[in-house]
């Protein structure tokens, strides 16, 4: 079975039995010895902190005095926190606009980059490079200049006599520039699509050609259905990652989420609550809220996948 298909089964459904091991006898001692570092890490840095964070979500805690139990107060406060709802709106806009646009472009370019096409590896490198650098501070800084009042974008618009705004400093456009930055990094899903396209056997297309199917028909009858598991895989992962975006918004707004909270991502607001306001309990409650949101989106994606994802096997 193909490794991408296998990956999809393992990573996304967890229905699979776990790793195949041909030896039938068990080897507990060696198993736990090899697993020891990971197990320690799991307990000390993941499970333990998760439990403690769940506890902190019901407390008021500023690092200086011991945590004080306040029941559901953090959660009720969240409901009336205007800035929190605004940060959710900003994050949702970013995810719902940015992720699909990025994936559509990645897919279109991947399909344009035919097998055996001249210059394939050149194009792949050029398109992939931004996604490698895109998360770095330097690129976020570059973005503030590209979309600044005197930046490249406005310089380009000036050729057409258009006097562009300061995109980053205008609350109506600041989030849009971050979405463009996200789309700019379409290279990594594109590479995954390219790998998926390569796994579609040529004979399907040959058979379709014999039957007189045109290129458009071939796309909708062969390419797209066979690629849906990979589109789904990309979609699930990109949504999970996009919800957690932080660096770009932090740098572009100088850590403030401005102008007028227009780039205040949920994670940025959480960071501010925890590390500038020292509202550790509130931040923990927000973190669990984020987890629930991401889980809900992922669950929704899985539910919707029954209607459009096609499994060959």
């Amino acid at each position: 079975m193909s490794s991408l298909g296998e990956l999809r089964n393992v990573a996304l459904s967890a229905r699979r039995r776990g790793p195949r091991v041909k030896t039938r006898f068990t080897d507990n001692k060696a198993g736990y010895a090899f697993l020891a570092p990971w197990l320690v890490g799991l307990i000390v840095f993941t499970i333990g902190p998760m439990l403690y964070s769940l506890y902190l979500a019901f407390t008021r805690y500023n690092l200086l005095q011991p945590p004080r139990w306040i029941g559901l107060d953090n959660f009720t406060q969240m409901f009336s926190d205007e800035r929190l709802w605004n940060s959710l709106r900003v994050t949702f806009t970013y995810v719902i606009v940015g992720v699909p646009l990025q994936l559509v472009i990645a897919l279109v370019i991947a399909i344009l980059l035919d097998k055996g096409m001249r210059g394939l590896s050149f194009y792949r490198s050029i398109f992939y490079l931004p996604s490698l650098l895109g998360g770095s501070v330097a690129i976020a800084i570059l973005w503030t200049q590209v979309f600044g009042k005197d930046g490249i974008v406005n310089g380009f618009l000036a050729w057409f006599g258009i006097d562009g705004p300061g995109w980053i400093s205008d609350p109506n456009t600041a989030l849009g520039t971050l979405i463009i930055l996200h789309i700019w990094t379409f290279g990594s899903p594109m590479v995954i699509f390219l790998a998926g396209l390569r796994q579609i056997p040529d004979m399907y297309y040959e058979a379709a050609q014999m039957d007189g199917a045109g290129r458009l028909r071939q796309f909708f009858s062969i390419t797209f259905p066979l690629l849906t598991p990979i589109i789904f895989f990309n979609l699930v992962l990109q949504v999970i990652f996009a919800f957690q975006s932080f660096t770009q918004a932090y740098i572009v707004s100088g850590g403030s989420g401005g102008p007028s909270d227009s780039t205040m991502f949920f994670t940025l607001y959480l960071y501010q609550q925890a590390f500038t306001q020292l509202h550790m309990g509130y931040a923990s409650a927000m973190a669990w809220f984020l987890l629930v949101i991401i889980a809900a989106f992922t669950g929704l994606n899985f539910w919707l996948s029954r209607f459009w994802v096609f499994y060959d096997d």
């Binding site: 080897d27 507990n28 993941t46 902190p49 998760m50 964070s53 097998k115 570059l142 927000m286």
Partner: protein
């Protein structure tokens, strides 16, 4: 993993499916062939245009870092006659310490993280892929779950742990978790790789009397060099670019890595040393670019098989 055929980036293009060896192509009426080549030309023109648009900001950044401060925004083109190294000289020492210190700090963190990930992730991957033990399936599912878990859920308690240990302001919070296989992506990547190795090799090793430790060190590790290389390169790129971790755990200039040092330029934008800011931004990207050039083959394979960036 090996079934995903990714041509090495440097390899010559594979033979075109439209090569004349295909009798169909030879028989094709000339008009149709002409249309196909028109489409091909249009396609390349579109792709090249897109390439230029994609890459222009990066080239502009590099060129601007060599322009005199006054010219950066008055001339948005990438062509100029006045090239200078002033920005590099000024930017180098404008953040409260020489930039070499930040480069060194980043390097220490990166090297520690790479060593930690290579050791701990390969150990865990061997256990998951080759050993049969109680609760293996449960642990495997937990491991996959940690890949998707937002770091924010464990952020505050982890901060408290490191604070209690007295590790704030040191590199330890950024390095020690890597020695405990906290980057589960790589465990998963290596499990996939080890599982694809033929079972006969391990049986032969057992018949020769090798225990699990020898089978791991002398058989598995040498065979999984591509997976280790992928892990090393991705760890390098992610750790070098990581901003969130250092932002939280490091508060004094002398321990800043490059990413946090660069933030200084944004904080004090009133001084508007754009040239210095661009110059140091370029410097911070150079290691990533080198990793990209050297490791392209592994990078492409790595994301194609696991979806990590």
């Amino acid at each position: 993993m090996t079934t995903v055929k990714q041509a090495p980036a440097a390899a010559p293009p594979a033979p075109s499916p439209r090569a004349p060896s295909n009798p169909d192509a030879v028989a094709r009426p000339p008009r149709r062939r002409a249309r196909r080549s028109t489409i091909s030309v249009l396609k390349h023109a579109g792709l090249i245009t897109l390439s230029v648009v994609m890459i222009y900001p990066l080239i502009w950044l590099v060129v601007s870092s060599f322009k005199p401060n006054g010219e950066i925004f008055t001339n948005i083109s990438i062509f100029t006659n006045n090239l200078t190294l002033d920005n590099y000289v000024k930017g180098w020492s404008s953040q409260g310490a020489p930039f070499s210190l930040f480069l060194l700090n980043s390097s220490i963190i990166v090297v520690g993280a790479i060593i930690g990930n290579l050791i701990s992730c390969s150990l865990a991957a061997y256990a998951f892929a080759r050993l049969n033990f109680r609760f293996r399936t449960l642990f495997f599912v937990l491991m996959l779950g940690t890949i998707m878990l937002p770091i924010h859920v464990v952020l505050v308690p982890q901060f408290i742990i490191f604070k209690e240990l007295g590790w704030l302001g040191t590199f330890l919070p950024l390095i020690v978790p890597k020695f405990l296989a906290a980057d589960a992506f790589f465990v998963f990547l290596m499990v996939q790789f080890i599982r694809a190795l033929p079972n006969e090799i391990f049986e032969a090793a057992r018949i020769d009397g090798a225990g699990h430790l020898r089978s791991f060190v002398q058989v598995t590790l040498p065979l999984m060099v591509p997976a280790l290389a992928t892990t090393a390169i991705f760890t390098f790129i992610w750790t070098w670019g990581d901003f969130f971790g250092p932002l939280i755990y490091l508060r004094t200039t002398s321990v800043f890595p490059v990413s946090v040092a660069l933030k200084g330029f944004v904080d004090q934008q009133s001084t508007s040393d754009y040239g210095g800011m661009f110059a140091m931004s370029v410097l911070s990207l150079v290691p990533l670019f080198i990793a990209f050039l050297l490791g392209q083959r592994y990078l492409v394979k790595g994301i194609a098989t696991t979806g990590i960036k």
